[in-house]
């Protein structure tokens, strides 16, 4: 029976292999059915050891057997930490001229945890596991939507990615879909790590004059389609951010929370190795705090676009929950007054909150004929963006824990923020380097201002300053009729952080592409921001894909 079952696969494999080279087979169907996809391997190797010291102190680690050691657990230089194999199948059915159905199914398996069992142990020691959030393997109907285009309308209904904005590499107006940071931070193509959401995207465009286009986005919070924050790596994995352990450690080191390392020895000490990353406890709390599926948790967006005298402009408004949570302000009170019997784990779903924010912004782009460059920009004003306090505990936390003072609330901070990006794109010929193709050169400056900044607040992706400035530069070209595609992307934050991503891709035939690259991270030891806890995560990576 088992032998016969395997033989059953043969005709299906034959059909699959023959169909992938002849999509004409599907034109006989009612409409035009197109099935494509790819098989891909992404692999990465670390170039540095994980952090063994934090703030100049030896890292203490509590392993699962209760032993505390000064040796760093975790990742080391040369660790083959990523071996992700992905199969993605895309189906596009053009049922009529105005009706398309589109779907993507994706499955993946990361073999790194099998290749090196220590990686799995790292996660277990940190309180998580490879099964969390489908970290090692998963499959899903990634996207599935109906695209209806009658006249000047576009209705796109289903699970989809909705992308706004003009920025590359960093998010400002591209805020509708969360990102999956879990397996390679935000380095992969965002088409692959943007998390599709169930929603409705309606556009109405006037094709003449200024080409006004009105867009309305509704992400219903009901029907199992609720809010999703960015997906972070589970604790103990290579890309766990380390934010919370550093957040708490910073507070303790700076004397803001005296005695808290005594009060929560198991929890805090388990977080003192930044390599094992974010406290799993807080990770679970953040997940448990995600709002329930309910229509009242809908996120709504509107955008109006137009063309004026060579400028493409748009204004938008997106009412949504902030992807980064803040504490419930009475979390410590609940803990001490016995919610859940004083057991920290019993009210994980009441520890954090994802606050509603309103983001209003605008974008523009224009082609300038003298410089032959495209200039683009966007800005976002966020009303009452939530920020965590620098001290996660109330001021009298130790006294109230000892019953010598009534417990107090903590104070989150809600500040208006303003962020903008200005960028340029300039394809430039350097015939002595490449006479057939230009070099695409693209630069950007980002700035974010926290208005009325308070020294008692902290941020998750900034360097604790009231203004963040960063620059990016992208250069790419193609050689040998675009069979060799080198590229470099660089980012520099004025606080002393940086990231360089050189890579080269090779194309062989119509179906095979492979490439190699590196992520070189630079971080100021005093600052956290995007790479603070991961500044030793430099890696080289490679990919091989067969796409049909």
């Amino acid at each position: 029976m088992y032998k016969n079952s395997r033989l059953f696969l043969i005709p299906f494999v034959m059909i699959f292999l023959l169909f992938i080279q002849n999509a004409f087979c599907f034109e006989a169907l009612n409409g035009n059915l197109d099935i494509t996809g790819f098989i891909r391997n992404d692999s990465a190797v670390r170039l540095s050891d994980g952090q063994k010291q934090l703030h100049g102190k030896d890292v203490l680690v509590s392993t699962s057997d209760g032993v505390t050691t000064t040796e760093a657990q975790g990742f080391e230089s040369g660790d083959y930490y990523l071996c992700r194999n992905t199969l993605q199948v895309e189906v596009n059915w053009s049922m009529t001229k105005n009706l398309d159905v589109f779907g993507i199914w994706r499955g993946f398996y990361d073999a790194a945890l099998e290749i090196n069992r220590d990686f799995e142990q790292n996660m277990i020691d940190a309180g998580s596991s490879k099964e969390i959030d489908g970290y090692e393997r998963d499959h899903e109907l990634r996207e599935f939507y109906v695209n209806l285009t009658p006249g000047n309308w576009v209705f796109r209904i289903g699970k989809q990615q909705i992308v706004w904005g003009e920025s590359d590499g960093f998010r400002m107006a591209d805020i509708i879909n969360p990102l999956d940071y879990s397996w390679h931070y935000f380095f992969p193509s965002w088409e692959d790590i943007r998390i599709p959401l169930w929603g409705v995207d309606i556009m109405y465009g006037i094709p003449t004059g200024h080409e006004y286009t009105f867009e309305f986005v509704w992400l219903p919070g009901a029907f199992n389609t609720g809010f999703q924050p960015n997906k972070l790596a589970p604790t103990g994995s290579n890309w766990s951010t380390g934010f919370f352990n550093q957040y708490f450690h910073q507070g303790i080191d700076m004397g803001l929370a005296p005695g808290m390392d005594v009060m929560f020895p198991g929890v805090i000490s388990g977080a003192t190795n930044p390599q094992t990353g974010t406290l799993q406890f807080f990770m679970e709390s953040m997940e448990d705090s995600v709002p329930d599926n309910s229509i009242k948790n809908s996120e709504l967006g509107m955008k109006i676009s137009a063309r004026y005298g060579g400028f493409d402009v748009s204004i938008f408004d997106f009412y949504c929950r902030n992807d980064s949570p803040v504490f419930e302000e009475d979390w410590f009170i609940k803990f001490l007054t016995g919610v859940g019997g004083g057991n920290l784990y019993d009210f994980q779903d009441e520890m954090f909150q994802y606050k509603w924010v309103n983001k209003i912004g605008a974008t523009f782009n224009v082609y300038e004929s003298i410089t032959k460059a495209v200039f683009r920009g966007e800005c976002v004003y966020t009303k009452d963006e939530p920020f965590l306090p620098r001290n996660p505990f109330p001021e009298n936390a130790l006294l109230s824990f000892m019953g010598m003072a009534p417990p107090q609330t903590i104070k989150n901070y809600y500040k208006d923020t303003y962020a903008y990006m200005l960028g340029f794109d300039r394809p430039t010929m350097f015939p002595f380097l490449n006479r057939a193709r230009s070099f695409f050169i693209s630069g950007q400056i980002f700035q974010k201002y926290i208005l009325d900044f308070d020294d008692d607040m902290t941020t998750m992706d900034m360097s604790n300053d009231d203004v963040q400035t960063l620059f990016t530069l992208l250069i790419n070209t193609g050689f040998r009729n675009d069979t060799v595609l080198p590229q470099i992307f660089m980012m520099y934050d004025a606080s002393g952080e940086g990231w360089a991503q050189p890579q080269v891709e090779f194309v062989y035939g119509d179906y095979i592409r492979f490439g190699v690259g590196a992520n070189i991270l630079l971080s100021n030891d005093k600052k956290q921001a995007y790479f603070g806890g991961m500044r030793d995560n430099d890696d080289i990576y490679a990919w091989l894909s067969f796409a049909w």
Partner: protein
């Protein structure tokens, strides 16, 4: 067990039918073969050297191209509406000081051209439909080892001026002064599937094109710089300006009349038939002797990718049948040739060949299924449409 065997055999037969269907689907339509006057090959090419552009001569003499010479058939007459418009507006067009076309309404701007510039404007305004659509524009990119990559797209164009058949005539009213809009969507390979490019060309000489590209990997639209028009795309040997022999703004070049002569060229290729690609050139074909104007085009931009082009323009169709392209050092670099299909009152190119003589690399763009005058809506040529068509 018997049922299992039947299902395996049945499924295998179905798969084989699907595999072979590609050959049935793409089988050419064979027309009656014309009388062959001469077969040109490397042994006798000297007899017709004076009728061959230099690069075509090279292909015969050194690469082994051979082809038939058949009687010339001058059977093309543009549609009546185009001829009527030519007559109606005859004499009112002028070439402006910056090379732009002034007072153009519709039809052939210069039925009796006197200068190279006027001939080039005739090429630009020759009738190929008030709108047109190539449903499967396939590029075969061949390297010097014979390896082939494929690029598939569909492309369409909507004319805003010079309209002769589809109302409104002679132009679609608009404040922006649009000349035409062009939309190209890529289907293959997978990495560019869903990539779309929208181009808007303006009448005003000094106004550059507006171009947008939808990038599937980013899931968003990007504004493009027209500095990229000298770039090749999709790994091919074709720049954005090389499309349809020359798709850039006419005013960006200066033109010199070299002379008039006759050349041998494919004027009646079989509709839908793919050429016989043999390495980096197309073997065979039926070539007719046709008159051409020889014009040299030089870009006003000193940094342009080409130093000059030599065009062979046929006065029957006003199409550029053949061109030789020179690099910035003045060396012969490429040839671009169109295998024409003439069908009554319209023509199009069934396949155009772009051959790089320096790297022995070529791209063959095959364009079966050409359609025109479909009354396409303006809404199909907007940024919104670019996003709606893509994933």
């Amino acid at each position: 067990m018997m049922k299992f065997k039947i299902s395996v055999i049945g499924t295998a037969l179905l798969a084989l039918c699907c595999f072979f269907s590609q050959f049935i689907y793409s089988s050419p339509v064979y027309a009656k073969e014309p009388k062959v006057l001469m077969v040109v090959n490397k042994e006798n090419v000297e007899e017709v050297k004076h009728l061959l552009p230099p690069t075509l001569y090279t292909r015969v003499k050194e690469w082994g191209l051979s082809f038939n010479v058949v009687p010339t058939v001058s059977d093309f007459v543009p549609i009546k509406e185009y001829l009527d418009a030519t007559k109606k507006y005859e004499g009112q067009c002028k070439v402006g000081p910056d090379g732009g076309l002034l007072n153009y309404m519709a039809g052939c701007p210069f039925p009796n051209p006197k200068t190279a510039q006027e001939i080039v404007w005739n090429f630009h305004e020759t009738y190929t439909g008030d709108d047109r659509y190539y449903p499967m524009f396939t590029g075969y990119i061949v390297d010097n080892k014979g390896h082939v990559r494929t690029n598939k797209s569909h492309t369409s164009k909507l004319k805003y001026i010079g309209r002769v058949k589809l109302p409104p005539l002679p132009e679609i009213p608009n404040k922006e002064g649009i000349e035409f809009k062009d939309m190209t969507m890529q289907h293959f390979p997978n990495v560019v599937k869903g990539l779309g490019v929208l181009t808007i060309r303006y009448k005003a000489s000094g106004r550059e094109d507006d171009m947008w590209i939808y990038l599937p990997a980013m899931r968003r639209i990007r504004r493009m710089s027209t500095a990229q028009r000298g770039d090749t795309f999709g790994g091919s040997d074709t720049t954005w300006d090389d499309y349809h022999q020359y798709s850039g703004k006419i005013e960006r070049n200066t033109y010199k009349m070299v002379g008039k002569q006759e050349i041998l060229h494919v004027m009646h290729a079989e509709e839908g038939k793919l050429p016989n690609m043999q390495g980096v050139f197309c073997q065979g074909g039926n070539y007719e002797k046709v008159p051409v104007y020889v014009i040299e085009s030089t870009s006003k931009d000193p940094n342009y990718v080409y130093s000059k082009r030599r065009w062979y323009v046929n006065p029957m169709t006003w199409n550029i049948l053949y061109q030789d392209v020179y690099d910035r050092q003045g060396r012969l670099w490429k040839s671009i040739s169109e295998r024409m299909v003439i069908n009554g009152d319209y023509f199009y190119n069934n396949c155009f060949e772009v051959i790089d003589y320096q790297t022995k690399h070529a791209t063959f763009w095959c364009c079966p299924g050409y359609q025109k005058d479909l009354n396409q809506p303006q809404s199909d040529y907007t940024i919104k449409a670019l996003k709606a068509f893509a994933r």
